[in-house]
Homo-oligomer: 326 residues x 2
């Protein structure tokens, strides 16, 4: 392969119905389907350059070399692309997030989605959106959801080929805004990959899985009907069910911190007072506060007034992963 280069962007996503636990870990086949929204305006931009002169992959994120463990995960993903393209050429990967890494925003989702799209293009592969989603999933489960645009469902599927994400509504379907309240920028003690691996040790995980299609159906319907009250109820329920599993796994994983709980309580109070607002929390202390665009400024300002809130990022529904013109 001659020197060949491509650049792609992808947004992180916030899951309204969460992914927690793998059925088959090495393929990142999830135990349950999930549903998410891409976070517009936040993105990872990744350039992949295959270069026969390289002896090994070289991976840079935000101008710094990755840890050996994170680098190995990228190399394993490039190996998947190389296998499809039938090449052994090593690559230079240069990646940049326009949002803080490790801030409770799934940077591995946008990272592996952008990496997948850029690497496939640089390797001369022309994959469908579905194939890109399948491939991205193997790098990081939730990256499968950052491939399609807008509001996205990831069907758990039964094997490598039918576990992929697809768009259920375009970004302009509903003017939701995610106000991400940053309460801590500490790195997580246990990351998602480690958490997925112990999800099955919770006595509550089976019940959570078995109830998924009910919650997913409610969420999908509420989203398609733009019914905020029903949406709010199931989104908070799903988030808390995932944290219930986390807090009862062995070892228990407690991601909520005191300000997280204070914001949860405030959000429920604001909703009881008539505002369209609800919360959802991933594997970290920060809290995603979902509202409608017309109320986003008000919600952001209320969040900033709460103790422990260091910053608030705002994101509207975003597009899918995209190749940038060279």
């Amino acid at each position: 392969m001659p020197v060949s280069k491509a650049t792609a962007v992808a947004s992180p996503n916030i899951a309204f119905i969460k992914y927690w636990g793998n059925r088959y870990h090495s393929l990142r086949l999830p135990v349950n389907s999930s549903l998410s929204m891409n976070l517009g305006g936040l993105f990872t931009r990744t350039t992949v350059t295959f270069d026969p002169a390289l002896a090994a992959d070289a991976v840079v994120l935000d101008r710094a070399a990755l840890s050996p463990e994170a680098s190995r995960r990228v190399t394993e993903h490039l190996d998947r692309v190389r296998a499809l393209a039938n090449t052994a050429t090593r690559a230079q990967v240069d990646s940049h997030n326009n949002f803080p890494t490790g801030a409770g925003i799934a940077s591995s989702a946008s990272g592996f989605a952008a990496l997948t799209v850029a690497a496939c293009a640089a390797a001369g592969l022309r994959l469908s959106e579905r194939e890109l989603s399948v491939l991205a999933r193997q790098g990081s489960g939730s990256a499968s959801r950052s491939i399609p645009a807008g509001f996205v469902e990831w069907q758990a599927g039964t094997n490598n080929d039918d576990s992929f994400a697809f768009s259920i509504a375009a970004p302009d379907h509903w003017a939701l805004v995610d106000c991400i309240a940053i309460v801590s920028d500490e790195h997580k003690a246990v990351g998602s990959t480690g958490g997925h691996a112990i999800a099955h040790t919770s006595p509550l995980q089976t019940a959570r899985i078995e109830d998924t299609l009910r919650r997913l159906g409610l969420c999908r319907e509420a989203l398609l009907a733009r019914d905020f009250p029903r949406f709010a109820e199931v989104v908070e329920e799903d988030s808390t069910m995932m944290h219930a599993v986390m807090m009862t796994s062995r070892p228990p994983l407690y991601y909520w911190q005191p300000p997280t709980l204070a914001i949860m309580e405030a959000v429920r109070g604001w909703r009881a007072g008539g505002l369209p607002v609800c919360f959802t929390i991933d594997a970290g202390p920060n809290i995603h506060v979902i509202t409608l665009a017309a109320h986003a400024a008000e919600i952001e300002s209320r969040l900033r007034a709460l103790p422990g809130v260091q910053n608030v990022l705002r994101a509207a529904p975003g597009g899918g992963a995209e190749l940038l013109g060279s």
Copy 2:
């Protein structure tokens, strides 16, 4: 019946394996068995005086008349005693707690246990401990556990007569101390009775119930073997499983407050640092921090240094409900 009077005391109890949800509400038959420790030094002292001159029951708690709803619950309980004693005589009930009411300490447990023992004695009934436990249970489920002494198991049973509590170890079996950190003395928005009634609406309640005998067995074994590390793990797991059910019921019940979560995190850290300490939380924001007597002063002082802790009460294993000499 001539004027007839008796006084009894009973302690509240803290459940290590929690009771949450009724199988048959009017009899307060629980969905799962539970395990608790009486809280020595804390008590309700209740005098019941049956008096033919009274037109209605008159109930006083801490020198104030009870609310109509709470009074009706006491009258319904007195009716059970009157039915057994075959009398219609009304009673004066004078009750006093030596601990703050509504402080996350189950005052209904000690209250209905003391009421049961005093009312039965005043009515001339001589019931066994088991019969008293069955009767107390109908007033308040956890009151069944405040009848026997020390460490107590309440077997769920299948009907009114086999759902009762019994002692599995005397108070001096193990020098545990409950350091109760008071973070709020606000009255609960939703009390236990209301919570029990909606427990079944959580998608996680069935899994919690089905897993009970595993947790109960682990807890009983650890307690009988005085194995603190195993005890700590299952006590925290059980508490968090109950709160998982509460937070995912309809409506969701969030009893934890930010300081509750901060103390949970601190306690886990202290244990990781080698101290024998764990937490358990009932239907309120206050947190019961369990340790061994040799470490109680250290734990109490650490708790008092945490933000949001208004007070700390200490209790060692307590005796059962007792009639006081007249």
